[in-house]
Symmetry: C2
Subunit: 475 residues, 2 copies
């Protein structure tokens, strides 16, 4: 179903940064002058995006526009999977998992896997993004692999976690199904390189491709995320439309009219002033894992030792996930009274997809009965506004992104907003937002510990590292 222009226009997300400003929160706030002083920086960041989009590792910017044929194929495959399989399991980690989890949580029933098949209409979804043996064993306790389609996602085909899971699952499938095992595995990987594509071709798996210029954390809007979404009944065209419309809004050269650019400038200034923490706090269970997805995008893109000139900068801002109202009872004490070291971004929803009334009762206990007659919708909304207000009064940097509703179109906007904001901030800090050199050391040490060929020197290095001192271990 395609939506009308009017409907889409009523579904634009709003970025509200009143409470980032000194006029509202006082001395720790940002002024119009400070924003104005970053005009050139903002202009350069926008130019960077415009100039480099669709090239190098910035091919993600074109995903909203260049996938018409792929979307068709994804939807066809999704219909087949939906009809034929009881479970859909993603084997992937990091960018291959966080997007699929976030979109599933946002657009499917919150207890999808517990609904009877007739009600839910789509398969159960499992995203296996860890290698804890207890996790794998527990999955195998609750699914029948013969009723399950597995989507193995790794661009390089050399992600140890995913390839281990793949080896375990394909072995089980082969033992149970022989030649028909291949009908239970889809490989989502690079078309041109790596091991998974080799294996997929040899085994005859159905494949989807991850474009070369799309890194893991920017891959939700390519087949990495879209296949799972389509299988789960999501209108992926509408998600891409939302992303496209946000992309267009973020090409506006006026900071005050460009949501991601304004957000980037504000966050840049906040970081400059020492706010090394960025809290993402949605007020909707459906948006809970958007915060997890954001944490990878923000942390891995901006956390960099050197800038593009090779200068040591140790850049980055630590993302923190929270959930409203839940974490009001966990983190708001700290956010209100602790150090002035963070920006809090609330995500709100104007209209939830359910309404639950709080019924009458206990009229003689006013401390309880004042709730009666209200809805949970009013309660969660009042709490979000009250928390914003309390943080403002405490002089704390906070901003709010409002979604008119949570649906494919608004979610597409939201994902693209954060991706573009990340690219802008990376450009402002003059760093490469699209690599992750810092994970190599740990990867190589793992290879060495597991005896991978070619890592004999690293193994020696590990062996000669200073031994742990028993006096620093307390039992």
């Amino acid at each position: 179903m395609a939506h009308t222009k009017e409907w889409r226009s009523s579904m634009k997300i709003r970025f509200d940064y009143n409470n980032m400003m000194q006029a509202y929160i006082g001395e720790h706030g940002i002024t119009d002058e400070e924003i104005f002083a970053k005009s050139k920086l903002a202009k350069n960041a926008l130019n960077f995006y415009k100039t480099n989009r669709g090239t190098g590792m910035m091919c993600w910017s074109e995903l909203p526009y260049n996938q018409t044929e792929i979307v068709k194929e994804l939807n066809e495959t999704a219909r087949y999977i939906c009809k034929k399989f009881k479970n859909f399991v993603v084997l992937g980690i990091g960018g291959s998992a966080l997007g699929p989890i976030a979109v599933f949580q946002a657009l499917n029933h919150l207890r999808n896997n517990e609904l009877p098949r007739k009600v839910r209409k789509v398969p159960k979804l499992y995203v296996e993004d860890n290698v804890d043996p207890e996790r794998m064993a527990s999955l195998l306790d609750v699914i029948d692999v013969e009723e399950t389609m597995f989507n193995v996602i790794t661009k390089s085909g050399s992600t140890s976690e995913t390839m281990s899971q793949f080896l375990i699952i394909s072995d089980i499938l082969k033992k149970k199904l022989g030649d028909r095992a291949k009908e239970h595995i889809i490989a989502t990987t690079s078309e041109n390189k790596g091991n998974l594509i080799k294996i997929a071709q040899r085994e005859g798996y159905k494949t989807f491709y991850i474009p070369d210029g799309v890194g893991g954390r920017f891959s939700e809007l390519c087949p990495v995320g879209l296949l799972t979404a389509a299988v789960m009944g999501v209108n992926i065209s509408e998600m891409l439309k939302g992303a496209a419309d946000m992309d267009k809004a973020c090409l506006n050269k006026n900071v005050s009219e460009n949501p991601a650019l304004a957000a980037a400038v504000l966050q840049y200034i906040a970081i400059e002033k020492g706010n090394n923490i960025s809290v993402m706090m949605p007020y909707a269970d459906g948006l809970k894992y958007i915060a997890d997805w954001y944490c990878q995008l923000w942390g891995e893109s901006l956390g960099k030792r050197i800038d593009l000139d090779g200068k040591e900068v140790f850049a980055g801002q630590t993302p923190v996930k929270a959930l409203g109202v839940t974490d009001q009872h966990s983190q708001i004490q700290l956010y209100t009274e602790g150090p002035f070291d963070k920006v809090i971004t609330f995500l709100g929803v104007d209209k939830y997809r359910a309404e639950v009334k709080i019924p009458d009762g206990y009229k003689d206990i006013p401390a309880v009965s004042f709730l009666c007659g209200h809805t949970l919708n009013e309660l969660i909304t009042a709490e979000r506004m009250a928390t914003e207000y309390a943080l403002m009064r405490a002089g704390r940097l906070n901003q709010t992104i409002m979604l008119p509703e949570l649906n494919e179109y608004t979610l597409g906007q939201l994902l693209m907003f954060f991706e573009i904001q990340t690219a802008f901030v990376g450009a402002m800090f003059n760093i490469d937002s699209f690599n992750q050199p810092g994970v190599e050391e740990g990867k190589n040490a793992t290879y060495a510990l597991l005896g991978k060929e070619g890592f004999e020197d690293k193994k020696k290095e590990l062996a000669s590292a200073p031994k742990k001192d028993a006096k620093y271990i307390i039992q």
Copy 2:
């Protein structure tokens, strides 16, 4: 089943802080001299704990010792619930939810609710710690209230979220079951004050009491957490025994032999040096929500505007939850290369409760086949050690708490370790670790927005607050 002394002695958790030390990580590390310089601070913190334990808001320190009768009653009730009900639902938020969730995840099958009843032997568990209307609607889509026991947990009986949920559920129960509704609700609350105890007595609910001197975030080891654990088949006596043994270890006056005191001194020094972030990163899905529980304990206890002398200090360190190995593919880039602003605490497990072998295959692709023959256990362990190593090489503060196994006894130790460490650090900063004045503003604003009696002035204040400026909202 009671364990032997030898077994317990083999099950002591180990606190390893080698990688906090300058000798291992270089300039950003801590020296023996720096630790020694805090001897008096440490001594005072220990004295504070010894002197105040069992009094005021520190009655949680006695929970491992003073609940023999309560444990008996909890176990009896648990057996009844387990026999009679298909679902057990906790209505609670913050400290009433985070402990029960953490222990359930740690000690039950990771997919408990999806197992057939015969296999799991215990009810399905739902912990409803938000008021998103979609969340409540989705719960009601998958449970039959007639087969469900609800445990309403709020000490004050005035927690808006929990009381709203209670009103909704009790209304549904009354409409379906009339007088028998009361057989489906347990109230866990203060014995002496508040609204829930009044309601419980009027309605004839079974009740459990939250001791006066036990705050929400220190309440897992009282009925708040123990009832759910017992219903889910956990040996709660063994959990308390673990907590008791940790408590004893933490009374040792030598910092180098007292795990929580050493951990407190190290974290105190790290905070003094500007590390305003504390990352909790378990390498086990079972320990995932221990990180959430820790985040409340740490954030809400230490995040304080004023110290005990009334001086403005804006104390606190922001807790961050992560999961190994999953977040290696999300946060480790930042932790390795970003700012030197955090301490990372790994939680490891020597022996997982399952072993999964990676089968042979693809001998001609060495980049894949090096994994073959190993187990997922070896992989996750290698990755934890490799990540520790990489962080050490990058000069980053990190420490590891190892559990020989994840069971009731080690979990009891772990919970008590963090509670005592928090009390120690709070004492070192000369703050009240047991209050949460910073949440009042938001609570009152919520009351005002919902029209609660007595908050008319707050309502006026809200109405006269500066209006949001449209120019700071981008659509």
